[in-house]
Assembly symmetry: C2
Homo-oligomer: 205 residues x 2
Amino acid sequence: MTPPDAPRKRGRPARAQAGTGPGTRERILAAARAEFAGRGYDQASIRAIARGAGVDPALVHHYFGPKEQIFAAAVEAGFAPALGAPGVLAAGGRDQVGERLTRFLLGLWENPATREPLLAVVRSAVANETAARVFRELVAVRLMRPVAEQLDVPDAQLRAELAAAQLVGVFMLRYVIKVEPLASADASRVIALAAPSVQRHLTGQ
Amino acid sequence: MTPPDAPRKRGRPARAQAGTGPGTRERILAAARAEFAGRGYDQASIRAIARGAGVDPALVHHYFGPKEQIFAAAVEAGFAPALGAPGVLAAGGRDQVGERLTRFLLGLWENPATREPLLAVVRSAVANETAARVFRELVAVRLMRPVAEQLDVPDAQLRAELAAAQLVGVFMLRYVIKVEPLASADASRVIALAAPSVQRHLTGQ
């Protein structure tokens, strides 16, 4: 999927040369994430992403294609830690899946390094229909389906989404809207209150 | 709270006169809601709201004050139907509160006339910190506190927020992100799956 870094050529402009090299793709992705987080999908510009990464706008297009695909790559990178959820589900006893999943995902939101990219994804997806489509495909295919495949209940994917809804709502109210007392409650208390709902949705217990 | 419509004066410009009258405040509010929904809190302008309502920008300021207060009024109007939730909670038996509350609030999202203003509020609150503050004060004071006061459980407001989180997550995934199969599932099926979680949070059952 990732095009290799373009080979350097003699006589190429210095600016484009500064943009090539092993870290270029990651630098563009970081700049894209910052641009989408700061200005939203609609207002974000490829020119600003290029400026943020210190490369030519043509190089942004070379690596990622049009804006929608840059966004998809930024979403995937920002959302990557959450894609560990199906593995967390599998790694342990069935009667603790709610607690394990809740603790794992809340941990990602508690940590600013993983929270900020998640916030950027959520903000863009709520504000823009194209961004929402990119996000929902990722969530459905990479998160809900692998979780549902591990469940032995009728309507497994719908139930996985109800479990996700409990957690999405907690993340929205605690980290985005910041409603008290939920925003300041101990993480362990939040896990103790949310996990039984997640468990009941996932396993019917 | 609402300033009375300014009396008409002889010799006043025709444009300003067209902006006065009994429906002016509501017209400005509707224009404000459309502007916040379409462009978000940051990009919304008082000039565009005035244009949408067919009044002078000074009249917008006269009725509502600065942008933050126009937004607060628009949020309150858009969110007004949801403020019926504490009444719904009170009107019936305790062992059905989860089902009653879930059915009532899902009904607001199922109906486009109440869904669109709610979507506008959520979009603005997710995208902008000032908008989030206005929204969370409304949610805490007008929704969570009256609900919590009816509950006879420890940490009543925190539990009310966990119940709200289950529903907020369902609304986000079903109506905003539109993840399948949740987005297309029968409302009655969604209520049957979500209500027991809401019930458990609210009453500990």
